[in-house]
Amino acid sequence: MKHRKWYKQLAFLTTWIVFIVFMTGCTNPIVLDPKGPIGDQQRDLIWFTIAICIAVLIPVLGLTAFIIWRYRDKADNKAPYHPDWEHSTKLETIWWGIPILIIIVLGTVTVKYTYDLVPAKPIASEKKAITIQATALDWKWLFTYPDQGIATVNYLQIPEDVPIRFELTADAPMNSFWIPQLGGQLYAMSGMSSTLYLQADEIGEYLSSGANFSGEHFGKMTFNTKATSQADFDAWVNKVKLDSPVLTIDGYKKLSQKSVEDPLLYSAFPNKLYEKIVTKYSAHYNHELSYKEPNSKPSHDHKMNKEDHENMDQQLEDMPAHHGHH
C-alpha cells in the first residue's frame, strides 16, 4: 500500500518532466539553432556530448529503478539477500573501466575541438575578414569599425558570409561578448585585447549580449546583431558616414561614464581609439586616454606631453595589426 503511493508520486514527477520537455520542444533553443560555422561546430559537439550523456543516463537510471524495486523490503520478496556480499573484482573493474573509456573518448574529441575552435583562429574563407573592435563600457558596448571608419553603440551590423574578426577589450569591469547563434563567448577585459572570429551564414537578426556580470545595469547590455548582404552593409556604412555625428575623444570620455544607452551611430571616431583604450593603463604610454592624465601631473610641462603624444602615436602606428593575448 505504502509503495503504491510512492509510485504514484513518481508518475507525477515524470509527467512534469515530460511536460517541460514538450513545452520547450516547441521552440528550438538558439544555441542549438546556429547560423554560422563556429556555432555549427559547437552545436555538433554539444549534440555529441548529449548523446554520450544519454547513453550513460538511461542504463544507470534503469538499473537504479530496477534495484530499488527488486530489493525492497517486503515479506514475500523472493530476491536473494546476501548481507555480507561487499566486493567483486569483476564488477568493480567494469565500472572503473567504462567511465575511463568514455572519458578517453570524450577527452580526445574535446582536445581536438579545443585546438580547432581556438577563438583567435581565422575562419577559412575566400572573402577577406573584416575587423570590428568591441569595447565593453559601463553599461553599453562600443563598436568601432577601423576599416570603415564608423562606430556604433549597442548595435552591430555585419555582412553575411564574411568572417568577422572581433577584437575585444573593456574600459570598465570585465564583460563577455556573446552572440549565441554565431558562436561561443569570449571575455572582454581591460588592459588587453582578445580576438574572436565569428561569421554569419544567413541574413537575420541575432540576440547578442554581455554575458558576464559587470555591475548595476549590465543586464541592459543586450543588443541585436544584424547580418545583411554585402551591398546592404556597404549602403548602411555610407549612410552612417553621411548622417551621423562624429565621436570625439571628449565624446568617448563622456560615453565611458556609467549610463544606459539606446543604439547610437557615429560617422567617425578618434584615430586609434581602440588601441588607446587597450593601452590606457600601460605606464609608459601617455596619450589622451591614459590613466595618468597629463594634466594630473603638474610637473610635466606642455611640451613634454606633446612629445609623449607623438611617441605614443608613432608606437601605435608601428604596432602589428592584431595584439596577441597573454
Binding site: K2, I17, I20, M23, T24, P29, I30, L32, Q41, Q42, L45, I46, T49, I52, V56, L57, L61, T64, I67, Y71, R72, D73, N77, A79, Y81, H82, P83, D84, W85, E86, H87, S88, W95, W96, P99, I103, L106, V109, T110, V111, Y113, T114, Y115, P173, M174, P180, G183, G184, Q185, Y187, M189, S190, S194, L196, A211, F213, G215, Y281, Y291, K292
Partner: protein, 656 residues
C-alpha cells in the same frame, strides 16, 4: 551638525526600500522578543553556562545546525525574491541594484553560511561518536571555530540593514569589487565576514584531521573506519589546502580597498585576473569540500537501509581521496572563455572530466550496496534515493560543461546555473538533509515524524526539477545569469514562470520540514533504543541522546561495521567483550574565551569596515588579550566521577 548626523544615518542604515524597512522592523521585534523571553524565564545564566561557554562537540554541532538552518531560510527567501522578479518579463519587483545584492548574498550565504556550517554541524555531531571518542582533539579550538563562523556570518548579514549588501557577485571579481566600482561598504562587509568565518573553517579542518588520525577507538584501523569518517578526512584535507588561499586572496582585496594597494587593479600594476585564478583555486575545491561529506552520509545510509555491508569499501576510499586531490587541478575551467592558450584549456578540460570517473564509481558502489539487500524507505533513505538521479543528471551536465569548446556556449548562462544547483542542491543539500534525518534521533533523543518528512521530501524533489530543468533550456536559449529582467520578445517567459513555480514548491518543502520538526517536538516520540534504524556503526551502541562523555567505556572496534557485528554476535549468544569497569572520565572544561574573542573579532571587523580605528584597535587588543589569558590557563579540565557515570548510564538505558 544635524545635517552631518542625517548624512551619516543615510549611509549607515539602508534606506528607501520597503522590503528592507520590513526586515528591519521584524529583526527588531525578534531581538526584543528574544531578550524579553530570556529575561522573563531567567535563562541568561543557563544560556551562558550550557551553550555559549560549552566545548562539548555535540552542543557545538547543534548550534552549527541551528545557525545553518536559519541561514537556509535567509538564503531561500533571497532565492524566492529573485525568482519572483524573474517570473514574468519586465517585472519591477526588485531594482537591478537590489537584485544584484540579493544574488550576491544568496550565493555567499548558501555556500559559506549554510552548506559549510551544516557540514561542520554534522562533523561535530557524528565523527567523535563514530570513532568511539569522547570529544574532538581540540575542544577549545572547536568552540572558537564555531563562534568565529557565527560572528562572521552575523557581520555579513548585518550589511543587509547597515551600510548596504555587497553586490559584486558571490566571488567578487575585481575590478568590479574594487573601490572605484564598488565604493560602498557592502564589499567590506563581504571581505571581513568571510575572512573571520573562514579562519574558523580552517581550524575546524585541522581539528578533525587530528581527531580522526589520533582519537579512534582501539582496533579501528584506517581501513576499518566508517565511510562518513573517511569523507570527513578527505574534506578536511581539502580544507587545509584550500582555505589559506581564500584567506590570502581576501586579505589582498582588503588591502586594495582599505589601504589603497594595487594587487588587483590595473592602474598601479596589479592584475584582476590574478584574483580570479586565486579565488577559484579555493572556490573549486570548496565545492568538493561540501560534497565529499555528503558522499560519506549516503554511504552510511545506503548500507543501513539496505541492511547490507557497503559495497566496494576500498574503491570508495580511493575515489574520495582521488576527488580530494584532483579538485585542485581544475580551477581554470571556470574561465575557459578568458581567451587563454589552447594547451591550458585542453589540460583543464581533461582534468575536469577525470573527476567524473571516481564520482561515477561511487554511484555504482551505492547501487550495488542495495543490490541483494533489503531496502526500506524511511526518510533518510528517501533523500538518498532522490539524490541518485538528480546527481547523475547534474554530474553529466557537468561533464558537458567540461567540454571546453562547448562551454563557450554554456558559460555564464542559465545552463551553468541549472548544473551547479543540481549538484549542490541534489548532492549537498539533499545529502546533509539525509544526514540530519538519519542522526536526528541520536542527537536529540526523539524521532521525526515520517509522514511530514515524506511530504517535505516530495515537495522539495518535485520542486527541484520544476525549478531547474527549465533553466537548462533557458541557458541554451541565450539567457545569461544575473540578468535582473528580460523582455517579452526573448521568448523566455514560460520557462521562467515554470522555474519560479518550482522555486516556491521547494519553499513549501522547507515549510514542511519546519512543521515536521515543530510537530515532532510537540508530540515527542522518544528514542528509547538508541538504535532506531538498526544501525551498523558505533554511535548507535550508546543511548540517545548521547551522554556528555559519549562512551562510558571506550569501545573495541575491530570490524568495519563494529556495532552491527556485535549485535550479530549477541543474537547468537556469543559474548566477546568482557565487561570493563567504569572509571572516572577526564573532560575538557568550559570556557568563555572563544565567545569573547569572536566578539572582539566582530568589533574589529566592524571598525575596519567603517574605517573607525577607535573601534578596530581596541578590538584587536581584545583579541590579543584573549590569546594571552588563554595561554596562561593551565587548569581547565575536570573528572566525572565513576559513580555519576554509572548513574547516568543506568538512567539512560532504563535499567534504574
Amino acid at each position: 551638525m544635524l545635517e552631518s548626523i542625517k548624512k551619516f544615518a543615510s549611509e549607515f542604515f539602508v534606506t528607501g526600500d520597503p522590503l528592507i524597512y520590513g526586515a528591519m522592523v521584524s529583526i527588531g521585534f525578534t531581538m526584543i522578543a528574544l531578550v524579553a523571553t530570556l529575561t522573563y524565564f531567567k535563562k541568561w545564566g543557563w544560556l551562558w553556562r550550557e551553550w555559549i561557554t560549552t566545548v562539548d562537540h555535540k552542543r557545538i554541532g547543534i548550534m552549527y545546525v541551528i545557525a545553518a538552518l536559519l541561514m537556509l531560510f535567509r538564503g531561500g527567501v533571497d532565492a524566492l525574491l529573485m525568482r519572483t522578479q524573474l517570473a514574468l518579463p519586465n517585472m519591477e519587483f526588485l531594482t537591478p541594484e537590489h537584485y544584484n545584492q540579493i544574488f550576491t548574498t544568496h550565493g555567499v550565504i548558501m555556500i559559506l553560511f549554510m552548506a559549510m556550517p551544516l557540514m561542520f554541524g554534522l562533523f561535530n555531531l557524528v565523527v567523535p561518536l563514530q570513532i568511539g571518542a569522547r570529544d574532538v582533539a581540540f575542544p577549545f579550538l572547536n568552540s572558537l571555530s564555531f563562534w568565529l563562523f557565527l560572528m562572521g556570518a552575523m557581520l555579513f548579514n548585518l550589511s543587509f540593514v547597515i551600510g548596504g549588501s555587497p553586490d559584486a557577485g558571490w566571488l567578487a571579481y575585481p575590478p568590479l569589487s574594487e573601490k572605484v566600482f564598488s565604493p560602498s561598504v557592502g564589499q567590506d562587509f563581504y571581505n571581513w565576514g568571510i575572512q573571520i568565518s573562514g579562519i574558523g573553517s580552517l581550524m575546524t579542518g585541522i581539528n578533525f584531521i587530528v581527531t580522526i588520525l589520533k582519537m579512534r577507538a582501539p582496533g579501528m584501523k584506517l581501513m576499518k573506519m566508517p565511510m562518513f569518517v573517511w569523507s570527513v578526512l578527505a574534506s578536511s584535507v581539502t580544507i587545509i589546502f584550500a582555505f589559506p588561499i581564500l584567506t590570502v586572496t581576501l586579505a589582498l582585496l582588503m588591502l586594495d580597498r582599505t589601504f589603497g594597494a594595487h594587487f588587483f587593479t590595473l592602474d598601479g600594476g596589479g592584475n584582476p585576473m590574478m584574483y580570479i585564478n586565486l579565488i577559484w583555486m579555493w572556490g573549486h575545491p570548496e565545492v568538493y569540500i561540501v560534497i565529499l561529506p555528503a558522499f560519506g552520509i549516503f554511504s552510511e545510509i545506503v548500507s543501513t537501509f539496505s541492511k547490507k555491508k557497503l559495497f566496494g569499501y576500498k574503491s570508495m576510499v580511493f575515489a574520495l581521496m582521488t576527488i580530494s586531490i584532483t579538485s585542485f587541478f581544475t580551477w581554470a575551467h571556470h574561465f575557459f572563455t578568458m581567451g587563454t592558450d589552447a594547451n591550458v584549456i585542453a589540460f583543464f578540460a581533461v582534468t575536469t572530466m577525470i573527476i567524473a570517473i571516481p564520482t561515477g564509481v561511487k554511484v555504482f558502489n551505492w547501487l550495488f550496496t542495495m543490490f541483494r539487500g533489503r531496502i526500506t524507505f524511511q526518510t533518510p533513505m528517501l533523500w538518498t534515493l532522490g539524490f541518485i538521479p538528480c546527481f547523475v543528471v547534474g554530474g553529466l551536465t557537468g561533464v558537458m560543461l567540461s567540454v571546453a569548446p562547448a562551454d563557450f556556449q554554456f558559460h555564464n548562462s542559465y545552463f551553468l546555473i541549472a548544473h551547479f544547483h543540481q549538484v549542490l542542491i541534489g548532492g549537498v543539500a539533499f545529502g546533509f538533509f539525509a544526514g540530519l534525518y538519519y542522526w536526528w534521533p541520536k542527537v536529540f533523543g526523539f524521532t521525526l515524524n515520517e509522514k511530514l518528512g515524506k511530504w517535505a521530501f516530495w515537495t522539495w524533489n518535485i520542486g527541484f526539477y520544476v525549478c531547474f530543468m527549465p533553466q537548462y533550456f533557458l541557458g541554451l536559449d541565450g539567457m545569461t545569469r544575473r540578468t535582473s529582467t528580460f523582455g517579452w520578445d526573448k521568448g523566455w517567459y514560460e520557462l521562467n514562470l515554470t522555474s519560479t513555480i518550482g522555486g516556491f514548491m521547494m519553499g513549501l518543502g522547507f515549510i514542511f520540514q519546519v512543521w515536521q520538526i515543530a510537530h515532532s517536538v510537540r508530540f515527542m516520540q522518544k528514542d528509547t533504543t538508541g538504535d532506531p534504524w538498526n544501525g551498523r556503526t558505533l554511535e548507535w551502541s550508546i543511548p540517545s541522546p548521547a551522554p556528555e562523555y559519549n562512551f562510558a567505556v571506550i569501545p573495541q572496534a575491530d570490524e568495519q561495521d563494529a556495532w552491527w557485528e556485535e549485535k550479530k554476535r549477541r543474537a547468537e549468544g556469543i559474548v566477546t567483550v568482557t565487561e570493563q569497569p567504569i572509571e572516572p572520565i577526564h573532560m575538557p572544561g568550559k570556557s568563555g574565551i572563544p565567545f569573547i574573542k569572536s566578539v572582539c573579532w566582530f568589533v574589529t571587523g566592524f571598525g575596519f569596515i567603517w574605517g573607525w580605528y577607535w573601534m578596530a584597535i581596541p578590538g584587536l587588543i581584545g583579541i590579543a588579550a584573549c590569546m594571552l589569558i588563554h595561554s596562561f590557563t593551565y587548569d581547565n579540565e575536570y573528572y566525572i566521577p565513576a559513580e555519576t557515570v554509572k548513574h547516568t548510564e543506568a538512567t539512560l538505558r532504563g535499567t534504574m
